[in-house]
């Protein structure tokens, strides 16, 4: 056969694979409001940057009528490409081919890409859209999942791993996304659960729809399994691209530097936080008043809103922000907010992203449900994560910092490198009302007018302790600054700490309370 004919044959073979599951299946995918796997990859990556591998892989199943059945690419597309010029490895399950079910070769393609991403130290993106294990391939499917989970864990903290749920992701399949760093969901398209509505109905007799059990909103607002929520696949891809600009390729590199930009003048840092500590405000505006171009990229926006986490840049460099949010549940720490912040702190530490913590909280949320939900061990995650983190840590106490909350929020005692306080900061063992009631219990009880005495004692306590100067006198905070000085001080802190050494004793790994 002449070479030209061989090239023609290659083209024909490629053409065939590009059909995916065929016209009908592709039409069905579109009718569900979903892009195909290949369309998704093309929409996400830089134009013409995608190179596909293992296009001609065939499954090896012989039982249950699988012999001779053609499944193009075995239901998954793998390859490499770039996002804003940054290299990424990607796999996308193709629901049009056997429902994107995971068989032996399907899993081997995914693990090949995972090995590649780890070896090349580049981010891995997985697009999940699969009916689950390919039943006809039996235990080989299960082995495939196990191999994926093992690699997720091996790569954790070395390369960024991103999961995009664009279809069903049920049973064992959900554990791969759960092991990765960031999970993206899209309204009405994403479905994640361990046991689906049918099993729940047959075992428990409870009826619930797929959407109400494990739809995008459920995971973005209730469970916290998803970090990013969007209304459409294209919006989701924009979020992923933006995330990629903030994180490094791997744990030995720095995130890309950008041209430094001043915050927008619409955010006046002196006017955001009310002087009265009982008045709420949106702490994200404080972050926007600090970061370059006022560009704050929030993570977990819809879950545990009483703490805010996300990325911004200072002088062009990525910084991870953690901030109490006074306008949601008074900014208390609780089970979910501790969990949310702790994992983010560990992410930033693993990828050498400096941390900036903004403090304004009344403390931990009291309640039987919180105590019984294990607020002790969840709250401990936050202490652990801050104590463990060796990246530069900067803390700004905006207003209230009481009790355990003060210690937990990246205090000097957990080895924050820089602790600044605004003049309105109140750093004390507890709030004035509570403290006065305990310290002056006898005087108040024995007074002629207990209410008057209580008021007087609360004022006394406020004057003496509800300020930043008691902590400053001990060196627990480094300096009291005016709000306008915040950005300047943070930029300087970063500059000073660029060669930070934080040696810790050798250990195999710590045992955080998870």
């Amino acid at each position: 056969m002449p070479l030209n004919d061989k090239i023609e044959e290659l083209k024909k073979r490629k053409e065939e694979v590009l059909q995916g599951g065929g016209e009908q299946a592709v039409a069905k995918q579109a009718a569900m409001g979903k892009l195909t796997a290949r369309e998704r990859i093309i929409a996400l990556l830089d134009e013409d940057s995608f190179n596909e591998y293992d296009m001609f892989v065939e499954h090896e199943a012989r039982d249950f009528g699988m012999d001779g059945k053609i499944l193009h690419g075995d239901g998954v597309i793998i390859g490499t490409g770039t996002i804003y010029g940054a290299p990424v490895a990607i796999f996308a399950q193709d629901f049009t081919v056997a429902g994107g079910s995971l068989g032996f070769m399907h899993a081997r393609k995914i693990t090949k890409m995972m090995d590649y991403a780890l070896r090349m130290r580049i981010p891995l993106i997985g697009i999940n859209d699969s009916g689950g294990a390919r039943i006809q391939e039996g235990v080989n499917s299960l082995a495939g999942y196990g191999e994926i989970f093992w690699r997720n864990t091996l790569s954790s903290g070395i390369i960024p791993q991103i999961s995009v749920i664009l279809g069903p992701c049920a049973g064992g399949a959900v554990y791969s996304p759960a092991l990765t760093d960031f999970v993206f969901v899209v309204d009405k398209i994403s479905k994640m659960f361990i046991t689906g509505p049918e099993v729940i109905k047959s075992v428990l007799g409870e009826e619930i729809s797929q959407e109400d059990l494990g739809g995008a909103k459920v995971h973005a607002m209730i469970t916290g399994n998803a970090h990013f929520y969007s209304e459409s696949e294209l919006e989701c891809f924009e979020q992923i691209k933006k995330l990629i600009t903030f994180i490094p390729w791997n744990n030995t590199r720095k995130a890309r530097s950008f041209e430094p930009k001043e915050p927008k003048s619409t955010y006046n840092i002196s006017e955001i936080v009310p002087g009265d500590p009982k008045q709420p405000y949106d702490v994200r505006d404080v972050i926007r008043a600090i970061v370059d171009d006022s560009d704050f990229f929030e993570i977990h926006e819809l879950w545990a809103g009483n703490i805010v986490i996300g990325f911004g840049r200072l002088n062009g460099e990525t910084v991870g922000f953690v901030a109490n949010q006074p306008m949601v549940m008074a900014g208390v720490l609780d089970v979910d907010s501790s969990d949310k912040a702790a994992r983010f702190i560990r992410y930033c530490n693993a990828f050498s992203i400096p941390l900036c913590t903004l403090v304004d909280l009344p403390g931990y949320l009291p309640g039987i449900d919180q105590e019984h939900a294990g607020v002790i061990r969840h709250g401990a995650k936050l202490l652990y994560a801050y104590s463990e983190a060796s990246v530069p840590k900067m803390t700004v106490i905006l207003r209230k910092a009481y009790g355990g909350g003060y210690i937990a929020m990246s205090s000097r005692h957990l080895r924050a490198d820089f602790v600044f306080a605004w003049p309105g900061a109140e750093i004390a063992v507890m709030g004035p009302e509570g403290a006065a009631n305990i310290i002056f219990r006898k005087e108040i009880m024995e007074a002629e007018n207990p209410d008057e005495m209580r008021k007087q004692k609360v004022e006394e306590y406020k004057e003496k302790f509800a300020n930043p100067y008691v902590a400053a006198a001990k060196g627990y905070i480094d300096t009291v600054i005016e709000p306008e000085e915040t950005r300047k001080m943070l930029l300087h802190s970063l500059e000073v700490s660029s060669n930070k050494v934080a040696d810790r004793p050798f250990k195999k790994h710590g045992i955080p309370p998870f």
Binding site: E206, A330, P362
Partner: protein, 77 residues
């Protein structure tokens, strides 16, 4: 089974506290983000906001009143 946690038409107290302001009446049209009630709890005047554009169906609190945790303060249509 309905999904109560996603149904944000019933606005409840996240913790016991005192109502320091009631800004709306039954039948009133409210815009998303508008303050409905202010709840003093956890050292904060917590603003209870309308999660969407809608009408107020029930107001179950008065200024100065104490509410228990989980108390339904306002119901929206």
């Amino acid at each position: 089974m309905s999904l109560n946690r996603l149904d944000n038409k019933q606005l409840t107290a996240f913790i016991p506290g005192t109502i320091v302001d009631v800004k709306v009446k039954v039948g009133q049209q409210v815009k998303q983000g508008e303050i409905l009630v202010v709840l003093d709890a956890m050292k904060m005047h917590n603003r209870i906001l309308a999660p969407m554009n809608t009408t107020v169906k029930e107001v179950n609190v008065k200024t100065g009143e104490r509410v228990v945790k989980g108390f339904v303060m306002v119901v929206l249509d």
